[in-house]
Chain length 411, copies 2
């Protein structure tokens, strides 16, 4: 094994490269956490924003800092010859469940987490989603006791896609756990548009059903837009109807429902007391399902929003200005550490499977943001998995409860 | 008169300050156009973007430029002691009509225009609007000859506001000139909501009417949202219905109508061959009528869009990154020269009256952008008046024609 620890560390720092380099990961135990932390600090100095940035926690003693400029220009080159040792303290920032889950992602992630937990707050979507579900459950009990109404969510699944079946099963489970009655219709792949429309029409008229969800994608012979528009706007808990989106975009208007995933992103920011008003937010991706409504929501909360997309010429430069980043582009590890302003808050919506020979399943899930690099720069970040993912279903339940309350005029 | 020409020039450069300084304007004939142009060039050097910017036309001979950095740090201070003379050439970039109109705005503007016309293109909204109206007229003739249908626009005016009456009169005139039949209903201030709704309902059912426009603002005892929503979506030529806005926001969807003023802004960019795709655009203002839909339109055209608003902490810094600026905030001269990246294209939607003792009417109209400063930095700009203003009515006629064609399935 010819590679020195320093070389390996560099390979580790490129762990956000395509999965073919992932094999290098197994060498990483050669490095101690102090070394990774040292590297993390250096990354900050190389960040163009550094001269204007005060680093609140430094690996180096403050007496060694004469001026920021001196430090920026001279010290990094000097220091790159040495390795500093320092104890890693205050590591307990995540709850145990998240750490266990993340440690499953491999030893690399374990080390990176140890090295950086002291300075970055991990936004625990699993915990927040559980809190939200508990609150929903309490509200459902209150409504049932008060007016005898139980919220109902109807899900229509067409075809036999395994992933769709899994999603529907998860939604059903979550409904039951929260006290929402679940109505499920599974139709064969070769069903006609008319059959689907008939079910939607029945659910539209059914007073026991307060939310209707058509699982996408539909078979290719069906007109998706036509079918989605058949869901009456008062039961469109997905919030994808253009009338809802229009109300979301307009000042002084209120949408009936906010789409679940972007609603979950904002809920995470709220629950972690991240100030949005007046902050510069960058949304990466402009999909109808996440990016676009997320940008509209941030704007409603008085952020200054920029939308980065596939045609953006300098995504890195624009993203680096953001206090808040919502990444929803579906490209594994696209947002690197160098894209991130020190202290930014990152909501990573991406859930991308990448090959991983060390994982029993042969793959692991990563976000759109290179987590290992981001935790060295950001002040808070959602992990993948366990960040935005669990919030989406929680928000679907929230929208269904909201609908049942509105239809029954229950406050 | 103690003030030297140099002092006066500085006052001139602050002409975008509140109108109280406007009195200084009468001293400006003391300055020749070459002096103003010299100042214009200096302004470029002081712009933070300069070191990365190549100035294609310089007042100074190119041999005097050794390196960009030397020029940036040393030369401006040196040169500020002298005044260079140079002939002003190639001034004929605007058409005569626009120049005559702008010269009415005072001698200051006349001089500024002379000094900068060589490097900035004035986007002539009056001319483009006329071209659009001529094209509409030709299409209306073709439709009438082919299927015997004449587009009809109904305007409902409630109350006796003079400005509203003027707008309605102008719309009627423009309709008649373009060959669109105008239907006008004027109701007294104390009309009931039901009366207005009855007229809307009648126009909704009238096959001769293809567009319905309720002049805003309505009297305070009426529910504006309720009344606007009563206009059937197929005749909502204003394009303000949330369903339209939703379709505008969503990728892969098409709104029935695009709101007139933002549509006019984009039309100007198209007609002047301004590339939008991949460019960084900043929209200042987020109103439902202009800013928000303008941002959505720019995004549809693949610009990277940022929205600046009253809660934005650093509007100047963000705006200075833009290749395209759409200013729609309603604050006279808010966008100063220092906000503008050299070579940016500016669409100024603001039409703000400011006091002007030198004007027979006692006021003059200015935009949201300080025109005198902007023409020294931008590559193209809309004047106020004569920029976006004339485009709004042209786009209303365009939407009415579009509606008549769609309703009658005429290609």
């Amino acid at each position: 094994m010819a590679s020195s620890p320093i070389t390996m560390m560099k390979m580790k720092l490129n762990n956000c490269s395509p999965p073919s380099t992932a094999a290098a990961a197994r060498f990483l135990p050669l490095l101690g956490p102090h070394q990774i932390r040292f590297r993390s600090s250096l990354a900050l100095f190389h960040n163009p924003s550094f001269p204007r940035t005060i680093i609140t926690r430094s690996t180096f003693s403050s007496s060694s800092i004469i001026t920021g400029k001196f430090f920026y220009f001279a010290i990094p080159k000097l220091l790159s010859c040495f390795v500093f040792r320092r104890d890693v303290k205050n590591l307990k920032l995540e709850d145990d469940q998240t750490r266990i889950q993340r440690s499953k992602m491999g030893l690399i992630d374990g080390i990176a987490a140890m090295a950086s937990e002291a300075s970055v707050k991990v936004i625990d979507g699993k915990k927040v989603a559980k809190d939200v579900r508990d609150e929903i459950n309490a509200e459902i009990t209150r409504m049932k006791d008060s007016i005898g109404v139980v919220p109902g969510l109807a899900v229509i699944l067409v075809g036999d896609r395994k992933d769709s079946a899994t999603y529907v099963r998860n939604k059903k489970k979550a409904c039951e756990a929260a006290g929402i009655k679940s109505y499920e219709v599974c139709l064969p792949e070769n069903s006609t548009e008319e059959e689907v429309l008939k079910y939607i029409s029945d659910f539209n008229d059914d007073p026991m059903v307060h939310g209707i969800l058509v699982q996408l994608p539909l078979p290719s012979h069906m007109d998706e837009e036509k079918i989605l528009h058949a869901v009456c706007i008062e039961k469109d808990v997905d919030g994808f109807h253009p009338l809802n989106i229009g109300q979301l975009a307009m000042r002084g208007r209120e949408p009936l429902f906010v789409p679940c995933t972007p609603k979950g992103c904002i809920e995470l920011l709220h629950r972690y007391n991240v100030e949005i008003k007046g902050k510069k937010a960058v949304v990466i991706g402009r999909s109808n399902i996440v990016g676009m409504p997320a940008a509209l929501l941030l704007q409603r909360e008085d952020a200054t929003v920029s939308i980065v997309h596939s045609r953006t010429k300098n995504p890195e430069e624009i993203t680096r200005q953001a206090d808040i980043i919502i990444a929803a582009v579906g490209k594994p590890n696209m947002v690197r550490g160098s894209w991130i302003k020190p202290g930014a808050v990152i909501i990573d919506v991406g859930i991308n499977p990448v090959e991983d020979a060390t994982n029993p399943r042969g793959y692991r899930l990563v976000g759109d943001v290179c987590y290992e690099e981001a935790i060295k720069v950001a002040s808070a970040i959602t992990p993948v998995p366990g960040g935005v993912g669990p919030m989406t279903i929680a928000m679907l339940l929230s929208n269904t409860l909201l609908s049942a309350k509105r239809i029954n005029n229950f406050k």
